[in-house]
Amino acid sequence: MRQHALILFAGAASFVAFGGPAARADTPCKKEDIRFINSMREIAQPYHADLDKGGRLFVQSVGLNDKQYVLQLNQSDSDKQVSLMRAVLATNPGCTVFNVEPNNLPEVRLIVQTANQTGAWVVTHWSHPDGFYPYQQGNDHWIAHIGVNSLDAGVSVSRSLVNAMGGQGGIVALQGILENKPAQLRFAGLQKVLAENPGVTLLDQQTANWDRSQAFPIVQAWLSKYGDKIKAIWAANDDMALGAVEALRAQGLAGKIPVVGVDGIPEAIQAVKTGEMTATVSSDAYYQGSIGLAMGYCVLTGQAPMPAKWTNEQRNFNLRLITISKDNVDQYLNPPPASAYAGDWDCNKLWSRDTGPAD
C-alpha cells in the first residue's frame, strides 16, 4: 500500500515538474540564453556538413559560445526529427530557435505545432505542405519558411547543359528519389528546357536515389547501350553527377561529355573547375544553415520585429540560387569566411536573398 502511494507521489511530482504548461516567451531573451538548433537529416554529405558549418559560423559571429549551438540529426527518420525537437524543449523552450531541414512534408506541420505549443521558434527550409503558411493565424512561432525554387534550379542547370552540347544530341538523366518534391521539380525543369530545344532528345532516365554508388552502374549500362549517342548527362544532384563522372572516367570520357548536377558541393565545384562537370546550382548551404538562426536571434534579442509584424512575403520566400559554371567558379573554390554573410545576417536585411514568394 505504501509502495503504491510512493509511486503515485513520484508520478505526480514528475508530472508537475515536466508536464506543466511551458513558459511563453513573448518578451525577448538575453543573448546568452538563446539556444540555436540545426535540425537536419545527416552529416555525412558535404551539403549537410556545410549547413552545420554555416550555423556554427553564425553563432561565433555574434560572439556566442559554441555550447549554445546544438546539431540534431534524424537519419531520415521523420518521427525522430520531431521527438528530438520535443526532447530538447523540456527546458527553456521560449529562447530556443530551430533551423529545420524537414525530412518530409507532413512533419512540417508537427514541427510547427510543437513550436506553437511550447513557445519555441522555428524557421523551415525547402518545402512545406500546400495551404499551410507561416503567416496563417496561430503560426506565430513559425518565423519564416525559406523555400528553394527547385524548378528554377532544374531549368538553370539544364540550360547550361544544353548550351554546352550545342543544342543538339541525346542526353540521359539521373533522377533523385522519385517521391521527393525537389527531385520531381528539378526533372520538370529539365523537361521544360527540352521542350524549348527540340534538337535535344532524352534518350533515357533512371533513378539513382541521390546516390553516386547507384549512379555509377546505371551510367555504365547506358554507355554500353547508347555508346556515342550520349552527348551529355543530367543529374538531379551533385553526388549522382560525380558518380556519372567516374563511370565516364572508366571509359576515358571524363571531361569530354558535359555533366551537370545540383547542390554546389565543394567536390562538384572542383569538378567544374577541372572541366569534368559543366555546371551546378547552389542554394548556398552556409546560408541555409545559418539564416534561420540569424532570424531567431534578431527576433529574440528584439533587434527585429516579432514575426506577426512581418509581411507575408518576408515569412514565406524563395531564396536566390547561384549557378556555378566555368565563368564564376573561382569565387566559390574556397569555404567562405563569416564576413561574406554579414549582409545576410544583418537584422535589418534578413530578407536580402528574397527572390519572390514561395508557393
Binding site: 545527416e42 552529416i43 555525412a44 554529405q45 558535404p46 549537410h48 556538413a49 556545410d50 552545420d52 558549418k53 533522377q175 522519385l178 533515357d204 532516365q205 533512371q206 533513378t207 546516390d211 553516386r212 554508388s213 547507384q214 555509377f216 552502374p217 546505371i218 555504365q220 549500362a221 547506358w222 554507355l223 554500353s224 547501350k225 555508346g227 560525380l242 558518380g243 567516374e246 572516367r249 572508366a250 567536390e267
Partner: protein, 346 residues
C-alpha cells in the same frame, strides 16, 4: 532395414541393393540434379530474353559492363554464403563496408591525411573488416545472442564509426594509379572482376577442402548434433563471420577506389543484394544447403536483371516492382522441389 531412396539395403550388402535399384531411383537422382541447375537455367533464360529484346545486351561492351558490375556483389555474396550456410545472418555488411571504405580512403593518398599506403591500404581495410567480423562472432558465440541482434547492433556501430571518421568531409582519393587500376582493365577484363574471381576461388577452396567449409554445412543443418559430436561449432562460427567481415572490408575498399572517395553510404543496399543473391542461387536461408558457386549464379542473375532492365527500358517507377517479382519467381523455382517434403519453413 535401412531405406535408401526407393531401394532397400539389407544388412547382407550392396549387391542386394544394386539389383533392387530401378528406374525410380535414377529418375529421382536426375530430378535432383536438374533442379539444382534451376538457378543457372533462370540465368540463361534472362540472358536470352534480354538479348532478344535488345541485341546490344549481348555485345562485348555490355559483357564487360556486366563483369564490372558483378565484381563487388560477388565478393560480398561469397562472404555471406558461409554465414547463411551455418544458418546465421550478418546484417552488419553495410556498416563494415562504410567503416572500411573510410579507413581505406584515409590510408591511400587523399585530400585529408598525408599517408600513401597504396595496395597495403586494401589489405589493411580488409583486415579491419575481418576484425569486425571476429567481434561479431565473439559476441554471438560467447554471449549466446542471436546473430540477427548482434549484427544489427554492429551495423549501427560501424556506420557510426564511419560517420565519425568522415566528419562531413569525405576524403577524396588522389592516388590516380589506384583509381585507374580500379576503373580499368587488364587484357580487356575489368581488374575488379579478376579480384572477385580470385576471392571466389578462395571461397570455393575453403568450402570444399577445409574442415571449416565442410563442417559449416553440418552446423547449418543441425547445430545441436554438431555440438554433441564434438565439432568446434563456435570456432567455425567466428571464422565464418571473420570471412564475411573480410569480404565486406575488401568490397568497401575496392568500391572506394572505383568511386574515388571514402563514403558513408558506400554499402547502401548491398546487404540485401548479397543476401538475395545467395538465396536465389540456391543456398537455403535456414542453412545446410548451397555453396559459393551457387551464390555466384545468384549474383549473375541479379546483375543481369538490373542491367537488362535498363536495356529494355523499364520505367524507373516500375523497376523495383519488376525486380521484386522476378526475384520471387526465381526463389520459388529454386525451392519448388522441396515444398512437398515435411520441411520446416521459417
Amino acid at each position: 532395414m535401412a531405406e535408401l531412396g526407393h531401394a532397400r539395403v539389407s544388412p547382407v550388402g550392396r549387391r542386394v541393393a544394386r539389383r533392387e535399384v530401378g528406374a525410380s531411383t535414377i529418375a529421382a537422382t536426375l530430378r535432383r540434379n536438374v533442379l539444382a541447375w534451376t538457378p543457372a537455367l533462370a540465368l540463361g533464360v534472362l540472358c536470352i530474353a534480354f538479348s532478344i529484346a535488345d541485341a546490344r545486351f549481348a555485345s562485348l561492351a555490355n559483357i564487360h559492363t556486366l563483369a564490372s558490375q558483378a565484381a563487388l556483389p560477388l565478393i560480398l555474396a561469397t562472404g555471406m554464403t558461409f554465414i547463411i550456410l551455418q544458418g546465421s545472418i550478418d546484417l552488419s555488411v553495410e556498416g563494415v563496408m562504410a567503416a572500411c571504405s573510410l579507413t581505406f580512403a584515409l590510408l591511400v593518398r587523399n585530400s585529408r591525411t598525408g599517408l600513401d599506403l597504396g595496395v597495403l591500404a586494401i589489405v589493411a581495410a580488409s583486415l579491419l573488416g575481418a576484425c569486425f567480423g571476429v567481434a561479431n562472432g565473439a559476441l554471438i558465440t560467447r554471449l549466446r545472442v542471436p546473430s540477427f541482434m548482434v549484427t544489427l547492433g554492429t551495423w549501427s556501430i560501424t556506420s557510426g564509426v564511419a560517420m565519425l571518421i568522415s566528419g562531413g568531409q569525405p576524403p577524396q582519393i588522389r592516388d590516380m594509379a589506384m583509381r585507374n587500376w580500379a576503373l580499368g582493365d587488364s587484357l580487356g577484363v575489368p581488374n575488379l572482376i579478376v579480384v572477385a574471381i580470385v576471392f571466389l576461388a578462395v571461397g570455393y577452396l575453403l568450402q570444399t577442402y577445409t574442415r571449416f567449409g565442410r563442417y559449416s554445412y553440418i552446423v547449418g543443418s543441425s547445430e545441436d548434433i554438431a555440438r554433441l559430436s564434438g565439432v568446434a561449432v563456435d570456432r567455425f562460427k567466428v571464422l565464418a563471420f571473420a570471412f564475411c567481415g573480410l569480404s565486406s572490408g575488401l568490397a568497401g575498399a575496392l568500391e572506394s577506389a572505383r568511386l574515388g572517395l571514402g563514403h558513408v553510404q558506400i554499402g547502401a543496399n548491398q546487404m540485401f543484394l548479397a543476401l538475395t543473391a545467395v538465396v536465389i542461387g540456391g543456398t537455403s536461408l535456414s542453412g545446410g544447403r548451397g555453396g559459393v558457386v551457387q551464390s555466384m549464379v545468384g549474383v549473375l542473375i541479379l546483375t543481369v536483371l538490373a542491367n537488362g532492365m535498363i536495356f529494355v527500358g523499364v520505367t524507373p517507377y516500375l523497376q523495383t516492382a519488376v525486380q521484386g517479382a522476378i526475384i520471387l519467381l526465381a526463389v520459388i523455382a529454386a525451392t519448388w522441389h522441396l515444398r512437398g517434403r515435411l520441411r520446416v519453413v521459417k
